[in-house]
Symmetry: C2
Subunit: 472 residues, 2 copies
């Protein structure tokens, strides 16, 4: 932590009147002012770090109302936080102020299985929701990699996706309503308890993905889905990226939408195989990992349809798993990738750009050209069914020249994505990392409307300042 020490020392305490008001609401065990206690709330999975001036742990919606009122009164920044698994710096308190942790608002309030919904506080872990829903044969669609230790509030704040999104949508598509406190301090209830509803404006989805800059979500009504009886896995290895990308487009252009459609380029496959050989055939230039789900009676037909669509020019090998062990073997290469990347490039720049599915071949070819031009190794994998690629720029963080090349390359990556009618982020969000690029994608007039909404819901600008949008 030595590199962060200056920031810790530079963080002044909050003025005594603010602390006094916070103490009125939060007992000592739920108000941290000691730097050693605050430290853990200053970073997130972006590896960025800034010290909060105070940390409060809310136990109720009313606690949240209280801290919003105090921060408004004294114009103190307020950064809400689940478990800090985001990769964009969205929960790093770059302007100091108070970090509000919802980790203790972790109650599942009720499950209505016949209505396919679950109500919970925002601090509940996604994994705990899944476990509770599973008791009733249901699941919540968002399945980010961080599922076991990320919160529902964080998933909603960042509009989390995951492999299943290709069939079941992201957080935005799987929430019926919210309870929240706006930056102005208003307690609001959005949406409804039904799967259809058109009374009033859709504030639910305005808050989803807004990264805690408009309101603090305290409770959510989640839309659950019935768990499929069967899941089948198939791995398809191709001679080159173009063949694999064309297969993605074929798979997505037939009625049996897979429940996962993951992609790895040749470099990603080689990295993973170097780390731990998993029997990928020689000459594999790209692979697809696909899952198909359905009922006992329907899943085999769905699998056949997906296999047929995946077959075509450049296919080297198509393997389906007959049992759990074989499924694990097919996924082994994909699972070896993250540790292998961490090993060779602990400071990799991991983007999550997204293009229309049919533009994936151009994206991957364009990325290869940029890699050559900038002398930066780029490894691609991700959720190809949505056109959402995790583009990893690998460089040595201790080499300033390389890091400068990474920055230049990153700009060209984003230009390429936008030229292909894509978006800079499919699921990770903006936070600090991409804030200064948002204007490349969203025109000024539209940004102006977003900023006006920000001012409307958070007139003093206390909520998560410096995140999500440039110029707020």
């Amino acid at each position: 932590m030595s590199v962060h020490t200056p920031q810790i020392q530079a963080s002044p305490p909050l003025p005594e009147p603010v602390l006094r008001r916070l103490r009125d609401v939060f007992p000592p065990g739920r108000l941290y002012t000691d730097p050693a206690d605050r430290l853990a709330y200053g970073y997130d999975n972006s590896k960025r770090m800034a010290m909060p001036q105070a940390v409060v742990l809310a136990q109720s919606h009313e606690d949240v109302v209280a801290v919003v009122a105090i921060c408004n009164e004294f114009s103190v920044p307020l950064v809400v936080r689940g478990r800090g698994t985001n990769t964009t710096g969205a929960t790093v308190p770059i302007h100091g102020g108070v970090v509000l942790s919802l980790e203790r608002m972790n109650r599942i309030l009720r499950v209505m299985p016949g209505d396919r919904l679950l109500e919970c506080e925002a601090g509940v872990l996604n994994g705990d929701v899944q476990a509770e829903a599973a008791k009733y044969g249901l699941f919540w669609a968002p399945d980010p990699t961080s599922l076991a230790y990320s919160t529902v509030g964080g998933n909603l704040g960042c509009c989390a996706g995951g492999p299943r999104a290709v069939k079941y949508g992201t957080a935005r598509d799987n929430v019926l309503g919210l309870r929240a406190v706006t930056g102005a301090g208003d307690s609001i209830k959005t949406g409804c308890t039904t799967t259809k509803g058109v009374v009033g404006y859709d504030l639910t989805r305005l808050l989803v993905g807004s990264e805690g800059t408009l309101a603090i979500i305290t409770e959510a009504t989640l839309k659950l889905l019935p768990r499929p009886q069967q899941v089948k896995t198939v791995r398809a290895c191709y001679a080159d990226v173009k063949s694999a990308a064309e297969a993605v487009a074929r798979v997505m252009n037939q009625p049996q939408t897979p429940s996962a459609l993951e992609f790895m380029d040749g470099d990603a496959v080689r990295l993973a195989e170097d780390y731990q050989p998993t029997g990928i055939p020689l000459g594999t230039g790209a692979l697809l990992l696909m899952e198909v789900d359905g009922s006992d009676a329907s899943v085999d037909a769905a699998l056949q349809a997906v296999c047929a669509a995946a077959s075509g020019p450049g296919l080297i090998e198509l393997r389906t798993a007959a049992n759990a062990a074989e499924t694990e073997a097919l996924w082994a290469c994909r699972k070896a990738l993250s540790p292998s990347l961490r090993k060779i490039a602990p400071k990799k720049v991991n983007e999550d750009v997204c293009v229309p599915v049919t533009r994936i071949p151009e994206l991957v070819e364009g990325l290869a050209a940029l890699s050559r031009r900038h002398g930066i190794r780029i490894v691609n994998f991700g959720h190809a069914g949505n056109g959402n690629l995790h583009t990893n720029l690998l460089a040595d963080p201790d080499d300033p020249a390389q890091m400068q090349a990474v920055q230049a390359c990153l700009g060209d990556v984003f230009r390429l994505v936008l030229a292909l009618e894509g978006t800079l982020s499919g699921e990770h969000g903006v936070g600090i990392e991409k804030r200064d690029y948002v204007g490349w994608e969203i025109a000024e007039a539209t940004l102006g409307v977003m900023r006006a909404i920000k001012r409307t819901l958070d007139p003093r600008g206390i909520l998560n300042p410096g995140k999500a949008l440039p110029g707020i």
Copy 2:
């Protein structure tokens, strides 16, 4: 039209400076000032009517920008309109001003079948989108009854649903991005061309369902879905409503979600059978019409699963259709209902309340009690898979006492729905008809945020004044 004549005569012409500016933009064939021409743009399917002071027909986004600028300059109300198929008065210009028809903005701009999306102008008919998408084996999910003659812009403005929503969602769930002009006159572009995207706030869904009160949608990027190879129909007749409602909950609590789950109560069945007998078994107190879709290989298994779930206490008869003629026969009773209702009650009050699926039995029992208490015949049918019932209050419009009883009964219906954690409208929207009830469902603090957003996007309040929210 005689009852409306006073309104026509009472409508003053727009001030000459406004007309002059409108003439600068719109040639005579696209600017109507003659009452005879304006008349057709003053009503919608709510049967309400108010004369616009002028009508303009836009042919481009730029035309819309121009008319918004003029209406802002002179503080003239501006009501956007597709084909006026809404049932809530949402497109009736109750405060006069300009009606902006998008009927000539009816171009499909492009189809990207491999990316499952279609871009079009807002004035395209839903049916034309379906026809174009079908060429590529795709469809757009929203399927309101008005599909053949309602526009995409109207469907989005009202967040249209339909029978398929139970499996595929409503307009909100099937749109990727919009082009629009805010009330302030800003041209904005929301969302993206990909199925995932988290850059900026979700303005797309803020506009969907806002009934033209925040911005005028000029173009849309629609999310398409692959057409199923097979659709199978099953009709289940039950002894009573409770048995049918319990069957709905069972059907929705298993993985094979039907692509339609329509309900008719006993009174609705009798009405339809009186109009045209279709062979419903004697003693039927409620029926369910269900469709199941899927691949050739999977659809029969899905049908079996739904039939098994539909079977239980109170089931009198379960019929599946083996061919197109049998499918038509099963739907005949449902299709006879609307003409029979029109015949006996041309001025029926048709609500579209929505409750969690498991509360349907309480809703239907409660409605029966209200019918007895107020002496008003109530006939229920609708999209039971979403808990969305079309509740028809039948009365003679020429009998003031009955119409007063209808109003009292309606209030009690809404109280019942809210007590069951439902919403006042599942898909029809608010318009004028339900505006004064919105405050029953949405608390004042939340309404306050909605009004603040309205003022932010439409500071002069020119867009569709008096609609959607009370107090705007």
